[in-house]
Chain length 204, copies 2
DNA sequence: AAAAAAATAGCCCTTACGGGCTATAACAAT
DNA sequence: ATTGTTATAGCCCGTAAGGGCTATTTTTTT
């Protein structure tokens, strides 16, 4: 039986996580917190095997939360929860002590298998992030940082699915022109001329 | 006596492989190529039992090389050579027809035993990759075979670099219209509408 | 020999893409 | 206070991309 605690301030997604974890008899929910402050008080007293923590919590971020409690509950593994894959914050979280992450929008099965993979010593993450971690281990400084903004990375992640500008605009609730502008800025910063080159460079 | 050919563009590592293989009286080097193009010409005429191929070769990748020659020399087994274990490319290579891989940095003994294991019907790889392969077997039956022609795969590989139709046409010495036609056929067969979707589907 | 598949190439058409601009509001840094 | 950054949004423009056709030659399969 794998015990799990959740720290997520969005009520809707916290409930979803709760159900997904609770649905599987291999897992048992210990706690479900809606803020880092709440978690800070209780999670040390009642440490789970796996703590699923939203990377973007109000006031105290998920990364800071980990930094504070990790040394006090070394047996607990941290699974970050992030809106965007390949976000720089994910990398920071891993450096801070997280062991893997799930992306919001993952299926129930993906979430459950991420928890299991983590518990079994694995590290669920994208190849891009994995390589950055390996580079770090090999002593290479965190190169490959093209200083894309979070929004730009988000747009890029949609480009990587083959979506049209129009589709991305609707998805993000912004205008087509804004999407185009983000792309232009991305291409400029990566010194490329089109989406495929951008994806190759960013995911290198 | 197991015959071995090597395709590796890094001089240093190619020499290392040569020595490691040559040192063992059970093996015999047939050829040692420094590019996929060289290998393409000669390896079909003089096929080895085992071909050790670097996964990242210039211009034509090791994966593409396998796709091109595998059907012509079905008795040859392919051992990929990769910098990082568990790379997605390794998985792609296995789907393309490789039977195992070694990691750069392996010891002489590890390399030799990988070759022997391969020759004896084994498949040297990490548990992670092995699991992906098993998942593929348990899941959908090699869904990756979209029956693309060699030429189409070649065009797709250039698309994956972010090249323009015009550039691909010049590279292959054919007209822009022909490149467009190949792409249309690729998209039709993969049931997608653009190059990024095609690449995602083909490399899935 | 006949049929099928693959590679070649052209035409027409619409639209998505990429690049050059400017501009504003919100916010952060200096 | 001023500067810089980010996200937003618009405009104009040329071209690349993608889709629907037909057609010829070569290669492969039956």
């Amino acid at each position: 039986m794998i015990t799990v605690s959740i720290v997520e301030d969005h009520d809707q997604y916290r409930d979803l996580l709760y159900q997904v974890i609770n649905d599987n008899p291999e897992f048992q929910i210990l706690d479900s917190f809606s803020s880092a402050e709440e978690a800070l008080k209780s999670i040390i007293i009642n440490p789970p095997d796996i703590a699923i923590i939203d990377i973007k919590l109000k006031s105290l971020s998920g990364i800071e939360l980990i930094q504070r409690i990790k040394s006090k509950i070394p047996q607990t593994l941290f699974l970050m929860c992030t809106a965007y894959q390949n976000n720089e914050n994910v990398f920071t979280a891993l450096k801070a002590g997280a062991s893997g992450y799930i992306v919001k929008g993952s299926s129930a099965e993906e979430i459950q298998s991420a928890v299991k993979e983590l518990y079994n010593g694995g590290a669920p993450m994208s190849p891009y992030i994995a390589k950055k971690v390996i580079n770090l281990l090999h002593g290479k400084e965190d190169q490959n940082n093209y200083d894309l903004t979070e929004r730009e990375i988000e747009v890029l992640s949609h480009l990587s699915k083959g979506l049209l500008y129009k589709e991305i605009a609707d998805l993000l609730g912004i205008s087509l022109n804004t999407v185009k502008n983000h792309c232009k800025n991305i291409y400029k910063r990566l010194h490329v001329q089109n989406r495929v080159e951008a994806l190759n460079k960013f995911n290198a």
